[in-house]
């Protein structure tokens, strides 16, 4: 079979990343330039600053990738780029950059959904096995997706309000934790006990998710305790919150696992870096005797290799080929 080499570009949040991926699996080279330290000074990602830093970094990141890989751009078969969802200003930098490369080297331009990238990150070290169930968890998404083959999917459930990652970050803020909130909250939770009573988000009759109630619950609890002058044990509150937030995901995955037999259960998206969540989903997979897959850390956080992995089946199927009028979109569902 012919080797397909895809140049992939990812600029949807605060990482400028470019990768060369062969056949959707072999990561020939990848560069990730993270802006995290800069955004940490502001307590969160500042979209305008992110866009500025992508613009400054993008050609340098490419140069470094090409030097490392000894690949020449005329050897590539296609250019893949994250066009949605994410921060619009950042996405636009990657999209315009990818268009220029596609144009100069006369290669197809493939638009990739960032969240599909997170799912296909599992196809780098492992293989996707259909039918599969994918739990996509990030700062903007909480979606349960069933895939029967490459890019044939059903959305089984989604958040009705806030995303899980967003809730982790907001609760971290309430607890005065530095950016990035989610990982710092997880660190506290490790040393805490689940002892604060927080209400479960929604009932088990539906497969959709809800996090805004849980978030308000934590805010109210912290306010109440402050007013009464009762000291809050941050470790315990973090552990209690994490337990309920993760339980919401576990219960909904279980509904889907009961209804149908899957070959694989996938955890994808930025929040899949959370170890407690990984462990709980892994236990559930064991219980239902379904293979559990989660990417290694490098491919869990935003990276271009996963975009190259997701672009490969699109290239083979001639899907998502984009013209130069491609625009970026800040909000779309994983399955769009």
């Amino acid at each position: 079979m012919k080797n397909t080499l895809i140049l992939a570009v990812e600029t949807s949040c605060d990482e400028t990343s470019i990768a060369l991926v062969r056949n959707g699996k072999d990561v020939v080279a990848m560069e990730v330039y993270t802006q995290m330290d800069t955004h940490a000074m502001y307590g969160g990602v500042v979209p305008e600053i992110a866009s500025r830093m992508h613009t400054e970094a993008i050609t340098l990141v490419l140069e470094s990738l090409l030097q490392k890989s000894h690949v020449k751009l005329d050897e590539i078969d296609a250019v893949a780029v994250t066009y949605a969802p994410g921060l619009l200003g950042g996405l636009l930098v990657g999209v315009e950059f990818a268009k220029v490369i596609a144009f100069l080297y006369n290669k197809p331009l493939i638009k990739v959904n960032h969240m599909m990238g997170h799912i296909y990150a599992n196809n780098i070290d492992n293989n996707l096995k259909f039918p599969l169930l994918a739990m996509v968890v990030s700062g903007g998404h909480t979606e349960l997706i069933e895939m029967n083959s490459d890019y044939e999917y059903n959305l089984l459930g989604a958040t009705m309000d806030d995303a899980i990652g967003e809730t982790f970050d907001k609760v971290a803020r309430i607890l005065d934790l530095p950016y990035p909130g989610g990982p710092n909250l997880e660190k506290l939770a490790k040393n805490g006990n689940v002892c604060y009573e927080l209400t479960k988000p929604v009932n088990d009759a539906i497969i959709h998710f809800s996090y805004s109630g849980l978030k308000s619950n934590v805010i109210n609890l912290v306010h109440n305790f402050k007013q009464k002058g009762i000291e809050i044990n941050k470790n315990d509150l973090a552990a209690s919150f994490q337990s309920v937030a993760v339980d919401e995901v576990i219960r909904k995955i279980e509904i889907a696992l009961k209804a149908k037999t899957y070959k694989q259960l996938i955890l994808a998206g930025g929040v899949s870096a959370n170890n407690y969540l990984r462990e709980e989903v892994s236990k559930l997979a064991d219980k239902y005797k379904v293979e559990f897959s989660v990417p290694r850390m490098l491919y869990c956080t935003d990276n271009a290799a996963m975009i190259g992995a997701a672009a490969y089946p699109l290239y083979i199927k001639h899907l998502n080929f984009a013209s130069y009028n491609l625009n970026a979109k800040s909000h779309i569902s994983t399955i769009e």
């Binding site: 502001y42 500042v46 305008e48 600053i49 866009s51 500025r52 613009t55 400054e56 993008i58 050609t59 340098l60 490419l62 140069e63 751009l73 619009l88 200003g89 636009l92 930098v93 999209v95 315009e96 950059f97 268009k99 220029v100 490369i101 144009f103 100069l104 013209s323 130069y324 009028n325 491609l326 625009n327 970026a328």
Partner: protein
């Protein structure tokens, strides 16, 4: 010899192709802030229309602002990527230069580009912008100071003259061609 000027700093997307420093063709489209959809297709269009291969472009000019933050980034990313990958010289020019360079000889004085709540101003002598004089002023500050300004109308841009002045500027390493924001954003204050 062909030169290409890219300008996306305001509500328009503009491409100008020069042959031996004479204007060969201009595309100037009101994009309604859909620069991303408009820019690359029109770059391809102006080249095709004039039967020019992108490899035939010998040098690039790009307007780096100040202006619309997102708008200017579109043109800058396109221009710096083209120049970098083809190893061609690139010269950034600012949005005030566009006006100041539009006369045969630069008329010394204070030039001004209007913005939503204020103005970008810069002082020019006969050689161009005086170093570090480019700044943002609020509408109130403008009224209080009574700036003696010249040419604020973008419609007077004369590309035939612009290129004569712009080609004298020093080329810049494409990696270092970045937007000129001038105005600070809230979070950075």
């Amino acid at each position: 010899m062909y030169s290409l000027l890219i300008d996306t700093h305001d509500t328009k997307v503009s491409f100008v192709v020069f042959k031996d420093y004479k204007v060969l063709d201009v595309i100037d489209i009101e994009s309604n802030m859909r620069h991303s959809e408009i820019a690359m297709p029109n770059l391809v269009h102006i080249l095709d229309k004039n039967d020019i291969d992108i490899g035939d472009i010998d040098e690039y000019y790009v307007v780096t602002g100040p202006g619309s933050f997102t708008g200017v980034r579109i043109g800058v990313v396109i221009a710096k990527t083209l120049a970098y990958l083809q190893n061609k010289p690139i010269r950034p020019i600012n949005s005030l230069d566009l006006v100041a360079f539009s006369t045969e000889k630069i008329i010394p004085g204070c030039y001004l580009v209007p913005e939503k709540n204020g103005f970008f101003v810069g002082n020019y002598d006969e050689n161009g912008l005086i170093d570090s004089s480019l700044k943002y002023i609020s509408r109130k500050e403008y009224e209080d100071t009574r700036y003696d300004t010249k040419y604020i109308d973008r419609n007077i841009v004369n590309y035939s003259n612009v290129i004569v002045h712009a080609c004298k500027l020093k080329p810049v390493n494409p990696h270092l061609v970045n937007p000129l924001y001038v105005k600070q954003i809230e979070a950075m204050k």
